[in-house]
């Protein structure tokens, strides 16, 4: 049908012509001797169905297609406004289902189609050197060999990530930097936002390029886009470097989800990491870098892999190494090869499947809800058909209603998805890591959501349309029984029960998770994070202190902090329990052991190197013996405080531990001077672990955390401590945060589980509501006559409700019961993620049951009221 901008002829004109015809014809008939009224009737009859002809005129394209659509929409809108509960249920369900699909699709779209915001990203690949060890690791000398000898790439760049201390304008703080090869920006084909970017010609051997590039976002947040920043000298780990330019806007390094604040020359590695590991090729201590580059035009991936493998084979022959031989694969950039790529892709694909199933379930539920609506409108639809509306017209009416609902829901869902993604982009789950989730919805996402909405509308409208077309208008008007009797079909009943079971399962699981989370917030960790401040103090790499100066400076720092009257205790530790730095344990042996192979160990103990005062600062109870003391220094015998579990494992009991000795793997004898309470070290859900606390003065470490306890608010203490520390060394970079904030990392899995299960539970509940609502509403609509008769024969509301809602309620009880049971059984699985997750909790059980009851109540509210509102008199008059 042609889309006309202007209709050629008005409908009124056409109508006038038809009337003129009737006039002319009746005049002719009168002339032939017919009576006035008879002539007119006969004339009318020759024309046939006037409405029908005009209808054909509308549809012949005189009426603009847009106008027809608009009329359909207006009609649909009027229909929807007349049924608010149906509209609300349908729109909400679709909004959630389509929104979920849009969010997941946007993430997949970002990861697969736009991994990096760089020009010609399609030909950009990272090199994954080994099939098993899935990260992108090759040593720097090997990288140089690949860079110089390959014939497949338009340049190969290298990158690695590290944390350094930045001092600028009298303020020092740790920042994350991406160490990059000189050709990095040229290989990625990037242009500076300001100044210039690093070039291959900036490199003149190791520690030769005193230039750095600042990221656009850090330039914005830290320097408020001050143009004078370009050309400024800042100090990284005390080495002066010049900021030569600003990286392009939106570019946040080569690893998605992690946005470094600076790009620094890889050749200057020694300045940033304290040691030059760039010359090491095979050793474990070598710096491993990732390689990235554009495949040359016309070069196939297979040919590039063969090219790289040939170079790799030469390297493997010349320099035997611990690693497996090179066997390359090319991967999309952004997710550090398969290392992150495989889990992220797998996770997103699973989510997309889940979202698609949710949408499918939503469509099924809405189909029965919609069918109920069509049943209610049988009479109206039959009238329309009788008055000349064709099948196509009725189909369009019903479908435009379904599609309108779907588009409304889809629009709201998409809006929600956009907001959620915007929130995610600003989300900083861990303050000490510059995590960013740069997922932007693009045209593909909008198109996806729109097509889903249209598809969903057509899908759930289809059943209703088919039903309406099957019905016989004549029968409907005569007896109101046009639609063949249909029970809630067996399959659909099972589907609904399955949905309810899944919903109840999720609701129970989320209650268990939330309860567990609440418990773990109040749990006994063996230390008290509330009221303590953590300050990251890195004296060696970031500040350049070495050897004997380290303990002296640490002592001075501690003394100056302790001199503040607001500070009740302060201590240093090289590692903190439940932090985010991974495991730190080593084997220990009994005092008399001579065989010190790891297989003969008495225990694998978590090690903390601490300064005296740690137990007060952490509020870990000391149960026996003494704390470590200042006198336990390098010249004194080696001593340790151990925890209860350690004492139990090595010495049998707590009381016997003090004064006993044990051995470390290098044979050092250590005497136990005290026993501290057990705690959690690596995760909230772990079983008691042996742990030992060694004096920092006997085992010096420069990178430490300072633990400051004070009854004052953390912000105030933080300021006082920072100024004290700056007084000692203005260039020392610090990062301070309340211990409870740092603990977020430990609680993150539990939080995530609670939130994810909560979202899934809510979605399940919404689906269940529409499912039950649909089934119940359909049952009531179908059995109106029967219910009316029952009422007329004296049935009470109880009987009516039982007759109308019984089947739906039975499905509800069956499904929800199964789900609750399953939820209680699987809650044990949650115990691996959430601390003290237990289903044996009356509150959880009561909460889950209450939630399901609420679901049932909301879902049956409207149908129940409609069933009770049936007026037998009116029904009788209607038929």
């Amino acid at each position: 049908m042609a889309w006309r901008l202007r209709r050629k002829r008005r409908a009124e004109d056409f109508r006038a012509e038809l009337e003129a015809h009737v006039d002319l014809e009746s005049e002719l008939l009168r002339e032939r001797g017919m009576g006035e009224a008879g002539a007119r009737r006969a004339a009318r009859r020759t024309v046939g169905n006037l409405t029908r002809i005009q209808e054909r005129f509308y549809e012949s394209g005189h009426w603009m297609a847009g106008e027809a659509l608009w009329r359909d929409l207006k009609l649909a809108l009027r229909g929807l406004r007349a049924a608010p509960s149906f509209t609300l249920a349908a729109v909400a369900t679709l909004a959630v289902a389509i929104g979920a699909n849009a969010v997941v699709f946007a993430a997949l779209n970002a990861v697969v189609r736009h991994p990096l915001p760089v020009p010609q990203a399609r030909s950009l690949f990272v090199l994954q050197p080994h099939p098993d060890n899935t990260s992108l690791e090759e040593s720097y000398p090997d990288y140089l060999a690949f860079r110089d000898h390959n014939r497949s790439f338009d340049g190969l760049a290298a990158f690695s990530i590290t944390q350094v201390g930045l001092e600028a304008g009298g303020q020092a703080a740790p920042v994350w930097v991406e160490e990059v090869s000189g050709n990095y920006f040229d290989v990625l084909r990037l242009q500076p936002a300001r100044g210039r970017l690093l070039r291959a010609s900036d490199e003149h051997g190791f520690n030769s390029a005193p230039e750095v590039v600042i990221s656009y976002s850090f330039w914005t947040t830290r320097f408020h886009q001050d143009p004078a920043v370009v050309g400024r000298v800042v100090r990284f780990n005390r080495h002066p470097l010049t900021i030569i330019g600003v990286a392009p806007r939106g570019f946040a390094g080569t690893i998605m989800f992690f946005s470094p604040q600076f790009f620094v020359p890889l050749v200057d590695e020694e300045w940033f990491e304290g040691a030059n590991r760039l010359q090491q090729r095979a050793e474990v201590s070598a710096l491993f870098v990732g390689g990235i580059g554009h495949l040359k035009a016309g070069m196939s991936q297979a040919a590039a892999v063969a090219d790289l493998n040939a170079i790799g084979a030469t390297l493997d022959r010349s320099y035997p190494k611990i690693e497996q031989p090179y066997s390359f694969a090319l991967r999309l950039p952004g997710l550090y090869g398969d290392f992150l790529g495989r889990p992220v892709h797998g996770f997103l694909a699973a989510l997309q499947l889940l979202a698609a199933l949710t949408l499918l379930a939503a469509c099924l539920n809405l189909a029965s809800l919609f069918a109920a609506r069509v049943t209610d409108r049988q009479r109206e639809l039959a009238l329309r058909v009788a008055l000349g509306a064709g099948g196509w017209r009725v189909m369009r009416l019903l479908w435009s209603e379904a599609v309108l609902v779907a588009l409304l829901g889809g629009g709201i869902g998409l809006g929600g998805a956009v907001l959620l993604l915007r929130w995610l982009r600003a989300w900083q789950p861990f303050p000490q890591f510059p995590i960013s989730i740069p997922i932007r919805p693009d045209a593909a996402v909008y198109l996806f959501a729109l097509s889903l909405a249209l598809l969903a509308g057509l899908l759930f409208g289809a059943g209703a349309v088919a039903r309406a077309l099957r019905s016989d208008p004549y029968q409907v008007i005569k007896s109101g029984k046009g639609v063949e009797r249909e029970r809630l079909s067996g399959t659909r009943q099972w589907l609904l029960a399955g949905q309810l079971a899944a919903c109840a399962l999720l609701v129970t699981a989320s209650f268990v998770a939330v309860r567990g989370l609440v418990r773990s917030l109040q749990a006994n960790y063996g230390f008290n994070p509330t009221g303590a401040l953590l300050v990251q103090v890195d004296l060696t790499t970031m500040a350049g202190y070495a050897g004997a100066r380290v303990p002296t400076v640490q002592k001075r720092l501690l003394d100056s902090v302790r001199s503040n009257p607001a500070v009740s205790a302060a201590s240093l530790a090289d590692w903190l329990p439940l932090g985010m730095e991974g495991w730190k344990d080593q084997p220990v042996f009994r005092g008399h052991a001579t065989d010190l192979r790891p297989s003969r160990q008495a225990a694998d103990a978590t090690v903390l190197k601490i300064s005296p005062g740690y137990f007060q600062a952490a509020e870990t109870p000391l149960l026996a013996g003494r704390d470590l003391a200042e006198t336990d220094d390098a010249t004194a015998p080696r001593v340790a405080v151990v925890n209860q579990e350690f004492a139990r494992k090595l010495f049998g009991s707590l009381g016997r531990a003090t004064g006993e000795e044990f051995k470390l793997e290098d044979g050092t004898r250590v005497e136990v001077v005290g026993v501290a309470a057990d705690g959690k070290y690596n995760s909230l859900t772990e079983a008691p672990q042996p742990a030992m606390f060694l004096p920092l003065r006997q085992w010096p470490v420069g990178e430490t955390w300072m633990l400051v306890r004070s009854p004052r608010p953390p912000g105030e203490v933080s300021a006082a401590v920072m100024s004290a520390l700056h007084g000692l060394d203005p260039e020392l970079p610090f990062f301070a945060e309340p211990w409870s904030t740092a603990m977020n990392g430990a609680l993150f899995p539990a939080r995530l589980a609670a939130v994810a299960l909560g979202i899934l539970g809510a979605m399940g509940a919404l689906l269940s509501i529409t499912g039950i609502f649909g089934a119940a509403a359909y049952a009531v609509s179908r059995r109106r006559r029967e219910l009316g008769i029952r009422l007329a024969l004296g049935a009470g509301s109880r009987e009516v409700l039982e007759a109308s809602l019984g089947p739906a309620l039975r499905v509800l009880v069956l499904g929800a019961g199964t789900g609750l049971l399953l939820g209680l059984l699987t809650a044990r699985l949650l115990a691996y993620v959430v601390y003290q997750a237990t289903p044996n909790d009356p509150l959880v059980l009561a909460g889950a049951v209450a939630a399901m009851l609420l679901v049932g109540l909301i879902a049956t509210w409207v149908p129940a009221r409609r069933a009770l509102a049936i007026d037998p008199l009116q029904l009788l008059r209607e038929e």
């Binding site: 050629k8 002829r9 056409f14 006038a16 012509e17 038809l18 003129a20 015809h21 006039d23 002319l24 014809e25 005049e27 002719l28 009859r45 020759t46 024309v47 046939g48 169905n49 006037l50 029908r52 002809i53 054909r56 005129f57 012949s60 394209g61 005189h62």
Partner: protein, 114 residues
């Protein structure tokens, strides 16, 4: 609707041809066209008047006829249709086509009758 079974129903697509043929005699309104077809066919062809108007509209859309409002012999307002140049050409084509078709059908029927 009661129909007179002895009258012939129009073949699909032949209404256009008949309308064009009728208009070659000069401008005419819808009712006049209907009556003219009925009369010239010796009352053999049944034109459902209702079907005529959408057909006229179709012809107008294709540019084969042009329409204007005017007055009938009895001074009644009516919409008059006239043949355009394009319409004349079309009529010639359609007529040839129809003659060939009916001739062919006739030959087949006669052959079958022997």
């Amino acid at each position: 609707m009661i129909t007179q079974p002895e009258k012939l129903e129009l073949l699909q697509g032949t209404l256009d041809l008949l309308v064009l043929r009728t208009l070659i005699l000069g401008e005419q309104h819808g009712q006049g066209i209907a009556r003219a077809i009925q009369q010239t066919s010796g009352q053999e062809l049944l034109v459902e008047h209702g079907a005529l108007y959408p057909a006229l509209q179709r012809l107008e859309d294709r540019g084969w006829v042009a329409a204007r409002w005017g007055l009938s012999q009895n001074n009644r307002r009516a919409r008059f249709y006239g043949l355009t140049a394009k319409g004349r050409k079309r009529l010639a084509e359609e007529t040839t086509k129809w003659r060939r078709l009916s001739g062919a059908i006739g030959r087949v029927l006669e052959a079958g009758g022997e």
